[in-house]
């Protein structure tokens, strides 16, 4: 199992569109993927959109991403990549 910290940087936070992209991506991997608020207020299964939306992760929220499984490295790098470029929403 591997673990990394990310921060929500896109303006609207993990809203429906961003969450959909995250969940779609997560579902392409076999590993168990979880997101947890570092303030420990909530944790989510990254493959469930309802669960992800319930993190209520607004802009600036810090999350801990954990990946556990055969493709955990690839999965982690794909998810962190989404957070890093603000789910493609940050330009303009």
């Amino acid at each position: 199992m591997i673990e990394r910290r990310v921060r929500v940087t896109n303006r609207l936070g993990l809203h429906a569109r961003a969450a959909a992209l995250l969940v779609r991506t997560a579902n392409t991997f076999q590993s168990t993927l979880r997101l947890e608020r570092v303030d420990a207020a909530a944790a989510a299964d990254a493959k469930s959109i309802l669960s992800v939306l319930m993190l209520a992760a607004a802009r600036g929220t810090e999350l801990r991403v954990t990946a556990d499984g055969v493709d955990e490295m690839e999965a982690m790098s794909a998810l962190c990549g989404l957070f890093a470029d603000g789910f493609g929403e940050n330009e303009g």
């Binding site: 936070g13 809203h15 779609r24 469930s48 309802l50 607004a58």
Partner: protein, 599 residues
């Protein structure tokens, strides 16, 4: 359709109220209108597996619908906007929701609808706690998805436009938007759980001359699309899964009475309609659906007294463009001919204009609707005004403003319409002369009718809404149907006051509610001073016959006596006694409003 049900199908009867005459035999077509009531049913242990399969099938159906919607949205709006449907699809596929629902079905032995609602409510409760406004709003996506599952569970697809030849529409209630989506020319009858004599269902059914029974409580939930059903509006009953004997009985009845449904068009329909003592009365047509257009000429209406334009809004959120509207109004103008047509501006609340208002109003009938909505969303009014002004270059069209409270609404609307007229001129576009009138249906407009009359070219009296607002009774609510009294002395005084104000200001007044379609009420209306009535076209022959058979002076005398009454009961009793005594040939006992205790 399903074998397992056929064995246990037994004839079942519902008693309601017949609101549009006739008898029909056909197959149920369930129509869903968006305000879904979810009921709790407890299942037998052995039915749980079936219920879970039903849920999964519904979710697959909802998924296919969403994929189709998403594909269309991508094409029309671009991939960025279609993303929301991707989120909805993921919610449908989300194990978190499905596991909760399936668990609830099996543990609580609940029906799928209820389980979906419970699971959704739990999720929504969590969302309601979210502090970030934008994220919290995503709860609406969950509601949307939940609704879609519920619709799929009801067995309805998105394509209930294609009706089979013998479709009998079964709905909780019919809203204008549902009507616009249906191909009503093929509907044989309508049966709804809610509704009264003046509900939309009733008005539509009478307009289409098909039988309708309303107030059936739970028929919509119990009937399945494809079930055989009898609608007998004469007796106010609906029979689901009729026995072979019942079917035989009704088939004979329908064959014998075919043609009764259509009253003959009057041959003298073209000439002026005179009462026995020479007073002239004008009869016009209320129109909403294209299916009714041919009736306008057929029944000899003097033009269109009320065109309900909101029926152009066929789909939620799809606001017809200026061009589309202009085309529709031109058609109406041509149809109406020399006598002209009065276009009522959209008489709807924000919910019909998708996204224009996001919050659900707690009291929509008293909310931001009709002219209030159009004044708030100026572009809606401006677009509609431009379309009407342009169409008026090709025929006689007038505009009537719905639900005005007082002169303020009139002045504001007139200013906007005049601005658009000036803009059309400066753009070099042709426009026609259009008179502007006010619907008098709000008590404050009645009280200040003399002031309003000085600002407009004519009055239209909308009696349905007037009764609703004056007596504070929701006309779609069966529980208060006893308080909805068209012949209430307060209603009669309001009508008299309004007609009087119009007369003093030398402007015409058209009475265009359902009251004008009912011969017994017509006598009272004419007695109160009405000379211009607009009604469902198919009612014209009946009303014409009544008017041609009585004297104006007699109607006046009856109306005067009605105004002296204390209660609606007294008025109804007086009308019943006087009409059957004066004109027994015109008012046989059954044609009059039934005494209260007989209902």
């Amino acid at each position: 359709m399903s074998k397992r049900r056929r064995k246990t199908e037994q004839e079942e009867r519902w008693r309601g109220r017949g609101v549009s005459e006739g008898v029909a035999l056909g197959r149920v077509l369930r129509v869903f209108n968006g305000t879904r009531q979810v009921y709790r049913a407890t299942l037998d242990e052995k039915d749980i597996g079936r219920e879970v399969r039903r849920l999964r099938a519904a979710i697959r159906l909802a998924r296919r619908q969403l994929l189709a919607i998403k594909a269309r949205a991508e094409k029309e709006l671009g991939a960025d906007h279609a993303y929301i449907f991707d989120a909805h699809l993921l919610m449908l596929e989300d194990r978190k929701l499905l596991d909760d629902v399936e668990k609830y079905i099996s543990e609580e032995r609940a029906n799928a609808e209820w389980a979906v609602k419970v699971a959704a409510d739990r999720l929504l409760a969590v969302y309601a706690e979210i502090k970030d406004d934008y994220l919290r709003e995503r709860g609406s996506d969950i509601e949307d998805v939940t609704q879609r599952i519920l619709v799929a569970l009801s067995g309805e697809g998105l394509d209930y436009r294609k009706l089979t030849e013998d479709a009998i529409i079964v709905a909780e209630d019919l809203l204008p938007s549902a009507v616009a989506e249906l191909d009503f020319e093929h509907a044989r009858a309508i049966a709804t759980d809610a509704g009264g004599w003046t509900s939309h269902t009733a008005i539509i059914a009478r307009g289409l001359r098909i039988p309708a029974v309303v107030g059936l409580r739970d028929l919509h939930r119990r009937a399945q699309t494809g079930d055989q059903v009898v609608v007998d509006a004469q007796q106010g009953i609906v029979i689901l899964h009729p026995s072979a004997e019942t079917v035989k009985h009704y088939k004979a009845l329908i064959t014998n009475s075919s043609g009764v449904r259509h009253l003959p068009a009057s041959e003298d329909g073209r000439g002026p309609l005179l009462m026995l003592d020479g007073k002239e009365i004008t009869l016009r047509a209320n129109v909403e659906l294209p299916a009714e257009y041919e009736d306008v000429r057929r029944y000899g209406a003097r033009g269109i007294g009320l065109y309900r334009s909101e029926f152009l809004l066929s789909h939620k959120g799809a606001m017809p463009s200026e061009e589309e509207q202009c085309e529709a109004y031109r058609e109406v103008a041509e149809l109406a001919g020399e006598d002209g047509a009065t276009i009522r501006l959209f008489d709807l609340g924000g919910e019909k204009f998708g996204g224009a208002t996001t919050e659900t109003e707690r009291n929509p009938a008293l909310g931001l609707r009709a002219i209030r909505f159009s004044l708030r969303q100026e572009e809606v009014l401006r677009t509609q005004a431009r379309a009407i002004l342009r169409a008026a270059a090709y025929g006689h069209l007038d505009i009537v403003l719905p639900m005005v409270s007082d002169v303020t609404d009139v002045r504001r609307a007139k200013r906007l319409i005049n601005e658009e007229r000036a803009r059309l001129d400066s753009e070099g576009k042709k426009s026609g002369r259009v008179k502007i009138g006010a619907m008098i249906e709000v008590p404050s407009a009645v009280m200040t009718a003399d002031k309003v009359a000085r600002e407009v070219d004519f009055f239209s009296l909308g009696t349905n809404d007037l009764v609703q607002y004056l007596l504070a009774v929701d006309r779609g609510n069966e529980d208060v149907a006893d308080w909805f009294r068209s012949l209430h002395p307060a209603v009669l005084q309001s009508i008299e006051r309004t007609l009087d104000a119009a007369r003093k200001a030398l402007i015409p007044a058209v009475v265009c509610g359902e009251m004008a379609s009912t011969p017994a009420y017509v006598v009272v209306l004419i007695g109160l001073g009405a000379t211009d009535l607009s009604m469902t076209p198919s009612s014209i022959p009946r009303v014409r016959r009544t008017i041609a058979g009585i004297k104006h002076a007699d109607a006046q005398e009856i109306a005067l006596a009605c105004l002296e009454c204390e209660t609606a009961d007294d008025v109804e009793e007086l009308v019943r006694v006087r009409l059957s005594k004066n004109w027994p040939h015109l008012f046989p006992p059954k044609s009059l409003p039934a005494p209260r205790d007989a209902e």
